[in-house]
């Protein structure tokens, strides 16, 4: 990570692999539970009971069951109790990824989040309104995501530079992208990377105020009559590693990371460019870096929020990117099953992509009644078996943050 003016310029790119993955969503805790759920075409939405939603237009979300405190010697019951909801989800997913990879210790850490520990900040605010001072110092500290994540790393036995990326809904994908580039260029052998967000009242109410939430609570990405997204919560983490390092320690290799693209959509703070200009840039960058043509991508896990503007812009970008190959490109949105995990979305959807490579199946874009005419690709409406060698995932966020990642089944591709 460090920069020195007298250091050598980056050497030729190295192959990069994933040696561990972990996930928590409203579908369940862990890789197996989530793979089973997506493969079965289940949805996981319920009424939110973490804060008052009686005054909101929408009352449901992909609320996860909070996992129990993990058995970690370096994590006291008090520390776990003081951890905000999002960080607990992150810790659980990161522990699974590190466990599968069989690693810990010194490595850089890249984490994406949009809300951080927002519920703790909300609590501080509510107490401050009435002038209460008791417990406020603790709340100020715990509101800061870097404090929470530093505690998480200490508990996991991971020490290294921490980079928290907050690019709204692209954050998790950016975190994995940063890790990929770092390993690819020889700046690190291994990086723990992922993203998370827990449900927070301010964020839930914010999306509701924008009328971006589906009133019925059921997101229908790419449906002609889609009416909004559903918020979800969860975390996804991976261990990104050089192939040499992975082979040297006999680590399990899940997949290769082949490409990453990042760009900024300057059209509007909350609306994408209707033609998907920035998405086209990132998809092109990522596939070119991977050395692949669009026709070689077997599956796209789309950003696919279910809002009227997002889905049509993404469909336009896919059409422009894939050209004549568009009809054969298989696309779905897993937000239809678990909702939009905001800063965690890109990382969680990357982990779902790893599941498709591992199990050779595709998750469905659920809840569709009539496909939007903008859709010219092969929309996967229910889970199906498929040969999957190369997958791509898109993440777009408020402020125009756009990111694309490409993964491959073969190690060291």
């Amino acid at each position: 990570m460090a920069y020195r003016a007298d250091s050598k310029l980056p050497s030729s790119p190295r192959p990069v692999v994933i040696t561990g993955a972990g996930i928590v969503t409203s579908m369940g805790c862990g890789m197996a539970a989530n793979a089973d759920g997506f493969r079965a075409g289940r949805t996981a939405f319920r009424e939110v009971d973490l804060f008052d939603v009686s005054g909101q237009r929408t009352k449901t979300a992909g609320q996860a069951d909070l996992p129990d405190k993990p058995a970690l010697d370096a994590l006291s019951a008090k520390e776990w109790e003081r951890m905000d909801r999002g960080t607990r989800l992150a810790l659980t997913a990161a522990q699974e990824a590190l466990g599968e990879s069989g690693t810990s210790g010194g490595m850089p850490v890249m984490v994406g989040t949009s809300a951080g520990a927002m519920p703790v900040g909300e609590e501080f605010y509510r107490h401050a309104l009435n002038g209460g001072r008791r417990g406020q110092f603790e709340r100020v500290e715990r509101y800061q995501p870097q404090r929470q994540l530093t505690t998480m790393l200490r508990a996991l036995g991971v020490g290294g530079p921490l980079r928290i990326i907050s690019n709204a809904c692209a954050s998790g994908a950016n975190a994995i992208g940063h890790a990929f580039q770092m390993v690819r260029e020889g700046k690190a052998e291994r990086v723990l990377a992922g993203g998370y967000d827990g449900l927070a009242q301010l964020v839930f109410a914010g999306f509701d105020s924008l009328q971006a939430l589906s009133p019925g609570g059921v997101p229908r990405p790419f449906d002609a009559n889609r009416d909004g997204l559903a918020i979800g919560e969860g975390a996804g983490f991976v261990v990104v590693e050089s192939v040499e390092s992975a082979l040297a320690r006999n680590a399990p290799i899940r997949a290769s990371v082949l490409g990453y693209g990042a760009a900024t959509d300057i059209h509007h703070l909350t609306q994408p460019n209707p033609e998907g200009d920035a998405a086209l840039i990132t998809m092109t960058q990522a596939t070119e870096m991977a050395g692949l043509e669009p026709g070689q991508i077997d599956y796209i896990n789309s950003h696919g929020t279910g809002t009227p503007l997002n889905d049509v812009a993404e469909a336009a970008a896919i059409r422009r990117w894939a050209g004549n190959d568009t009809p054969s490109i298989r696309v779905s949105s897993t937000k239809s099953a678990i909702g939009h995990l905001l800063g965690g979305a890109g990382a969680v959807e990357s982990v779902i992509c790893l599941m498709t490579l591992d199990g050779q199946w595709l998750p469905g874009s659920l809840n569709i009644r009539e496909v939007d005419p903008a859709v010219e690709f092969d929309l996967v409406r229910e889970p199906r078996e498929a040969e999957v060698k190369h997958v791509l995932t898109n993440s777009f966020g408020f402020g125009g943050a756009n990111a694309t990642l490409v993964f491959g089944k073969e190690a060291g591709e």
Binding site: A2, L9, P10, R147, G160, L162, I165, N167, Q201, I266
Partner: protein, 340 residues
Amino acid sequence: MSRITVSGLGAVSSAGWGVPALLDAIANNRPPEISELERTTGEGVVVRTSVARVPALDDRSRLPRDQRLRRASAVGKFGAAAAFEALGSERFEASRTGDLRLGVVCTMMNGCVNYSNRFYGEVLRDPGTASPILFPETVYNAPSSHLSAVTRSSAPNDTLVGDGAEFFTGLELAAEWLERGDCDACLVVAPEETDWLSAEAMGYYSHRMLPSEGAAALLLEKGGSGPCLLAVPDPVNYAEEADRLAGFARVWQDLDVSDNGHTLWSDGRTGVARFDRAESSVEWNGPRLSVRRLLGEALGAAAGLQTVAALGVLEREGFERAVVTAVGGNEGLGGAVFGR
């Protein structure tokens, strides 16, 4: 061997708008004007907090004209003004016409606290009437996204969140992008704003700290003629080294600077002994600045302002090197070295 140089500086601080105001306050050891934020709690108690605010904008030409900034909160405007100053009119136009691929790295600790405060207040009163105009401006990356929009740049734009030492990670990321060719030039911007919520929160750490606000901006390029970015060592995270003295010793060793009289040290000391212990533990006889001690604690913007001050003084006084350090509150420690 790469050569990343600083080709522009920008600042908005409690000393005023622009780098000259910052350097003038430092040269004359002039403290900022102190004002009081006042609010009444639900119990009817009046709470007053002293702060060092950015003075009112006296010259509209300091801000780029763009409708994106109309609704932006103070943090967005501070960031835009500092970035605009660092870019200069020529590069600003080059970015807008597509002749310069301008990357943006924004680092912050507190973020958009004004609108978050207002919006959440509305949610608690009646979520059905909470303003959809406010919410998008509460997101951490709103200020940086405005910068890309104003400069018409689709190059990468990342917002990094961390403690008071995060700015150095921003410098390192910008250098990475420039080396890889992801952009032709990169703005590293550190903006913060204050309000009663954040100012009172700081009081829980120490009543001797003066809450402040502002923004700092550096424009980095490859191969320019300005001061050179010589080193940004890995920050030391408190997860691996909880002891600040030991952590700072590691950072200091990695910075590899000598107290030869030609090196300027811009430290992160605040004037509160327990927070300053690590940086005070190093014996230093050469020139030294403590911007936070003079102008207040501007959180994520502070290390940026320290850097702008160091580079301004480096140029003005003809020092060979400038080293900048910060001991973060709850994530880690970091620093950077610049040279002519």
